[in-house]
Amino acid sequence: MPSDMQHVNQRHAERRLAGEGAPRLPAGLAAAALAGPAKAPVETGVWAESTIDPDRFAALLKAVAAKRDRAAFATLFDHFAPRVKAYLIRLRTEPAVAEELMQEVMLTVWRRADGYDPTRAGVATWIFTIARNRRIDTARRDRRPELDPSDPALTPEPSPLADAVVLAGEWEQRIASAIGELPPEQAQMLRLAYFEDRSHSDIAALLHLPMGTVKSRLRLAIGRLRSKFENVP
């Protein structure tokens, strides 16, 4: 899509949000949801360069699990705790509560390190799921039933995930570098979903976009990212 089109759409959305009766959210929230997407694909000051080193993180977590290695944990803490806190604050958690929840998330990382399976997820992904679930427990009335990998009712995988085994940690790295290259209106969809707690129906309502547009932007974004973990040499 030509970039002037995006800007037209963006201005359109902002005008609507600024207009009377349009925002069902406090103006500050609506503005926060739109802050950035109209600018460059990578928002300076909000999004940092990826520094993922999947092998190193996995090795540190393994040391925590196997040897209760405190120094390894402290290294993981220094990298991830400020990111978990940033995540919680983006999700409108009060800063004091965010710091408290972040501590619980990092303690969970220490306690459950032996449950980490590097063939299923990278370390950042695993920590993301812990933070996501902890926040839902605290902030929402809604419960979130979890998929249980040991559920006897689970339909088994047809074959061992041979290719996935090698790549789980690498996905994160590839996706992290690809996110900055997404067209802004696609990156915005992902940010609203993952960092602003908006379901795809909420996004359509928030941005006054037809549901079909939201779905197609989400699918385009996923398609682009998917090509990153499927085009593996």
């Binding site: 944990f73 400020p82 990111r83 710091e99 993301f128 419960r143 996935a164």
Partner: protein, 219 residues
Amino acid sequence: MKPTHHLSDEWLIDYAAGAAPEPVSVLVATHLALCPDCRASYRRLEAIGGALLEVASPVAVGAAARESVLARLDDPVPIPAAMPTPPANFPSQLPRPLRDYVPNGLAALSWQRLGRGAAIAWLRCASTTPYKMLMLRIAAGGSVPRHTHRGNELVLVLQGAYVDHLGRFGPGDVAIADDSIDHRPIADKGEDCFCLAVVDAPIRFTGVFSRLLNPLLRR
């Protein structure tokens, strides 16, 4: 057997991102339990969360918070509450994400008849979203009266199978309907068909006689 009708990306994203309302989470997690293909996609969608966490600009953590965590590493680990044991006659084929909502098995639900061939039972959930969750039972060879939807409807087949103009839906399959679809699902003759359904607006019966059922579903 693997399902052939899958959830589309936007529903998997809602759940991976943590933005799905509870009834949608229940249906997505149950489908994931039954569908290895969607589990593989889902893992990649969670990896997007990991990547976003990685590229989020860090917010400084106070030295006191860091010290506090490091000082608590040896604290006794709180023991999680044990999962309640299901009754002996509990249908073991129900995937775990669904069990808390059907604690005493399908037969113990309060079923309301829907015409001659079908029945529904609402499932309790604390969520305040417009989404409601229900079990649908279509008797072997029976049908759900012709109806359309005012909003989204997700139907996940748990047991048996049904056919409508969109195709045949068996265990683990998901049908996604909106207000453009007017259908009359018919169950296979062999066995009763049980489905989990999630709706965000009342469905509306469109058949000549089944219109009388509409008040039943206002909830």
